[in-house]
Amino acid sequence: MAKKKENIRNFSIIAHIDHGKSTLADRLLEITDSVAKRDMSAQILDDMDLERERGITIKAHAVKLDYKAKDGETYELNLIDTPGHVDFNYEVSRSLAACEGAILIIDASQGIEAQTLANTYLALDHDLELVPVINKIDLPAAEPDRVAAEVEEIIGLDCSMAPRVSAKTGENVAEVLERIVADIPAPSEAEDNAPLKALIFDSVYDNYKGVIVYVRVMQGTLKAGETMKMMATGAEFNVVEVGYMRATGLEPCKELSAGEVGYITASIKTVRDAKVGDTVTKLQNPASEPLPGYRKVNPMVYCGVYPADGADYEALRESLEKLQLNDASLSYEPETSGALGFGFRCGFLGLLHLEIIQERLEREYNLDLVTTVPSVVYKIHMNDGSVVEIDNPTHYPDPAHIDFCEEPITNAHIYAPADYVGAIMDLCQDRRGTFKDMKYITTDRVDIHYEMPLNEIIYDFFDALKSRTRGYASFDYEISEYRRSSLQKVDVLLNGDIIDALSFIIHSEKAQSRARKIAEKLKMHIPRQMFEIPIQVAIGSKVIARETVKAMRKDVLAKCYGGDITRKKKLLEKQKEGKKRMRQFGSVEVPQEAFMAVLKLDDDN
């Protein structure tokens, strides 16, 4: 029996971080009885601990809701939740491509923010019908009228029908469902009889089923037993099961048909075989063209990840392997550092991605890690005409053989109250930014557009921005091009030995000031030891900054009273623990915190 495509609605929710996307999603599940109230843990879609804590969605999720609307019809609503961060823009774009519409949430007190706009533009790029929803009307600072006007003025969306809700209390949330049914088009034209084209918008690894592929069927149908083919990778699989994602689990069905959102399992062993953006077709009667928009995702930021305890190298390798099962954009390969021993060079989509992976390794896999200064990918043009791409300062060639270097440049947009324009421009200028333009979004909010080198952003730009604007600024960037630049490799020497893990590549104008800050930070974080430790920061053999850690003179338990030997022994145990957190470089011991500290060099922090 052909399903009524008119009753299907496929939609996403887009919003700036913290505007209440996940909370609204939870309410929708509750109202449609998709989840029993007693099973509601806050924000069921964000099921990683980390997601709940940071209030951001890292992986996309999808869920099918049944909704009996006021018109008496029952609708099949497919909610595709999207990651809310610039690092995952590609994933967001694939999720949006799977939908006909999107709910745009705007915080009733904060109004439009960086990602509100960025995501809106992304949604409009995909011709999505936008349903504005003004959230958090329960807040004392809520100004729904002002925000509605802002949305109409800036985005040009009619807000006269926009539901004004509190996802937190549930007020007016039912209205959102009515708007979805009324405003978002059904995939009516999706043709069951055409060759299968299903867009992969996410895939997750499951211990029992293998990879679960989340798809939106654009045309055609698919059922268990058929052979499917990934059009980008060419991989073929026998379909084991198809079905729908329900809030409480997977629900197998006979067939996925055009217009629907569902999952496929096919004993796929790794998510790399089911890449986000790829098109699924059938071996029999394949589609001639894949869906547009697929691209291979390349890591933008690299850093070395080392186990704090060398014995954990294998455990780290296994953990990375497991994480990669679910995260095709994470790359890693073995690397060795004179300072840190055996570890991995890992590639990430951006800084947030890096932080998330690092935190997951430490939390979920219980690993103690040392990470090196993150690096972008530089293109080094050699005198002989060849081009070397390097993501690790250690591989920086001898400057005598370098013709010129190129570094990645971004288009960065900062959205902030107009009061902070001066502070933001100072910061961007300091980060080698080139001012492009500035638009007043409203009378007191601006969109400042800068061109900035990526390597200025990956250090601690966002932290610095937040501290200079008291958290009011939001920020978004995308890579635009590679541009010729004057770069230098800077080394850090402790007691005369180069610590390879601390080397970095930097613009020549910034070398001196960064060098000085690093030397100061290291001095603060390297504890006094039994001898004096010179800290030098150098370009080649030229020292551009130096500090000295004075020799320690006193570390003694003067009194062991009344035979309390245990106290002395405990002290020794503590020393042992402390030593574990130290890295030995020649004769110098460096605590892991020192490595972290050189990553955060902003003065205001």
Binding site: M530, K554, V556, G563, K568, L572
Partner: protein, 365 residues
């Protein structure tokens, strides 16, 4: 040979830097405490099969306990343990609370060594430390002891106390030397958590770490010039007057400790009584802490002494040679002047004592 430590948890008042277990008590508390100590001594006698050659009354302020009660405790030990005739019996005293009578009475009960807390001979330093007795009182207390026939006298001073300078330190050292005593303990002030000093740490006008180190080395130098040997990190003695009881701790020998917060090392195991007066009075037993006497512990303790770790002794005790790696590491340290390493053993220098935690850690870990 075994030592016995008796903790007397009473003080006239608490000094603001002290975190030892003590409080000011009523006479009836002292009586019930005496009863509990005597009972414990009888009950624990079976644990000590060796002869007892040292007794140490520490605190708190044992002199506050009174000469009669101290005598009774010693009598109980004589009755229940095999006390050697030449045993060293020490009582810690507060110079302001001792009288000539007190010295005579304890001498009569067998006490032959007193240790008194002077801490500083400089008035404003003493006041900051909350110490009651002035220089004159200390001199008087020393003469009382000598008159009573106790010539083995130890005085404590503290280094790195509020507003102390190198000059004021010399004043204290001059006083110590002129007192003609046999033993001196010089402790660097450590700000302990939970003490009034800890809360006030910012406003104490403490000398900085480098100055404290200089004070320590200066003290060691001056005392050594006056014939004292720097035999342990914080202890100095004329030849033959090293504290035999305290040496037991550093030599990893056994001792029985009685009283709340007192520690014991018996039959290779370490125990302690909880820091709870009422529990002790009610008869709460000592608590097993951990096994003691390991190689690591032995080395750690031996290196607190200027005689250091002697390889021969080590072999006699453990029936094996010392780990080659320790010797290797020690040799690496030698050029720094922090220790001396010979075929016979390893010993820290005064500079090395200052860094003893780190060095010992480096050697054994």
């Amino acid at each position: 040979m075994t030592g016995i430590y008796i903790h007397i948890p009473f003080c006239i008042r608490k000094c603001p830097y002290c975190d030892f277990y003590s409080f000011s008590a009523q006479e009836k508390d002292k009586d019930s405490y005496l009863k509990a100590v005597l009972l414990c001594l009888k009950n624990k006698a079976y644990l000590v099969s060796d002869e007892v050659d040292t007794i140490y009354f520490g605190g708190g302020t044992p002199s506050v306990f009174g000469a009669e009660r101290i005598s009774e405790v010693i009598r109980c030990i004589k009755d229940n343990y095999r006390l050697t005739p030449s045993a060293e019996i020490t009582v810690e005293c507060n110079p302001s609370s001792v009288t000539e009578d007190f010295m005579h009475l304890i001498k009569a009960s067998g006490v032959n060594r007193v240790s008194m807390g002077m801490q500083s001979a400089v008035e404003n330093e003493r006041k900051a430390l909350g110490r009651l007795s002035g220089k004159e009182q200390v001199a008087k207390a020393v003469s009382f002891a000598k008159k009573a026939g106790i010539d083995n006298i130890s005085l404590d001073i503290m280094l790195g106390v509020p507003s102390q300078t190198m000059e004021s330190l010399d004043e204290s050292i001059d006083f110590l030397i002129s007192s003609e005593i046999k033993h001196i303990s010089a402790y660097m002030l450590k700000i302990e958590e939970g003490t009034p000093f800890h809360k006030a740490a910012g406003s104490l006008n403490l000398p900085d770490e480098d100055t404290v180190c200089d004070m320590y080395l200066h003290t060691a130098e001056r005392l050594c010039e006056s014939g004292f040997s720097h035999y342990e990190i914080s202890n100095f003695a004329l030849s033959g007057y090293e504290s035999r009881h305290n040496l037991k701790y550093w030599h990893c020998e056994e001792y029985l400790g009685i009283g709340p917060s007192a520690h014991s090392f018996l039959g290779g195991k370490r125990y302690y009584y909880s820091r709870d007066f009422d529990a002790f009075i009610k008869g709460e037993d000592m608590i097993y802490d951990c096994d003691g006497g390991s190689e690591e512990e032995y080395i750690m303790l031996a290196l607190r002494l200027s005689e250091g770790l002697k390889f021969g002794e080590y072999k006699r005790k453990f029936g094996k040679e010392i780990d080659e790696r320790i010797i290797k590491k020690a040799e690496k340290f030698e050029p720094t002047g922090l220790l001396t390493a010979t075929d016979e053993g390893i010993a820290l220098t005064a500079e090395g004592f200052l860094l003893s935690n780190t060095i010992i850690g480096e050697l054994i870990l």
